[in-house]
Amino acid sequence: MWSYDKILEFPVKIKNPNPALAKIIISQYGGPDGELAASIRYLSQRFTMITPEAIATLNDIGTEELAHLEIVGAMVHQLMKNASIEEIERAGVGPYYTDHGKGVYPQAAAGVPFTAAFIQVKGDPIVDLTEDLAAEQKARGTYEWLINQTDDPDVLEPLKFLREREVVHYQRFGEALRKVQDYLQEPRLFIMPKPDFMNRND
């Protein structure tokens, strides 16, 4: 279960509305490498994970990604909130506005709605952790492409924070994968000397 703290993990305080930015940042809300995909991927994979370290890692990173989903949602919300209809139209956000108004809808930057097809849950610890390592790198990459597209410091700071978290998560998943590999390679047979009678050829 979860318990809610009424505070963001990292503050979002964006002065200037900017619907064009909202429209691309939303990809980290509901896009292929976004926080919703990350969270639901890890929280679903944990049920069949092995080794205490890797299970806890999935559980807790999946939980932190929920806090990141909230941060990204707050960014989109604040970037849209005080935007005028003219600003929204001029930014090319008319189509989004038509379907969702100023609501925060989980979709990718190009408009593809969130789908579970963005993620995989294989039920195999090596497969799942390997996917998670890639997922963290893809999220880091997305944050970098977003950072390249703005110079608003109010937007840059939370983006930089979120990017750094992906680097930390990648490290932790790497350690979890190593634990799982070590565990799978551990000899689990208790070998005893072969009794003589089994060596007789008669």
Binding site: S3, D5, K6, I7, E53, K81, E157, V168
Partner: protein, 90 residues
């Protein structure tokens, strides 16, 4: 009357201490035998609890399951964390 600056200062501290907790907890999940890190984590957990209690006393509910409410029920009070006004300036 609530002093907004003091409230934001407390949120800043909460946020910093929470970050240390988050970081140490993830680290400990893959390094469960690091005694120093456990001691640090427990210290930050104590600090976080203290700061949340202080926030609860002065500025209202912050923790769904731990904070106490006066009358009327305070959990519904705005602003919620995703609003501009709820956040401190970096």
């Amino acid at each position: 009357m609530i002093n907004i600056n003091n409230m934001m200062e407390l949120k800043r501290e909460l946020s910093a201490v929470h970050m240390m907790l988050e970081e140490l907890q993830l680290y400990l999940n893959t390094h469960p035998s690091d005694r120093d890190a456990i001691a640090k984590r427990n210290l930050f957990a104590k600090q976080y609890k203290g700061l949340k209690d202080e926030f609860n006393k002065s500025y209202g509910m912050i923790s769904q399951d731990d904070s106490f409410s006066p009358y009327p029920w305070q959990w519904v009070d705005e602003p919620w964390p995703w609003e501009y006004e709820a956040n401190f300036k970096l």
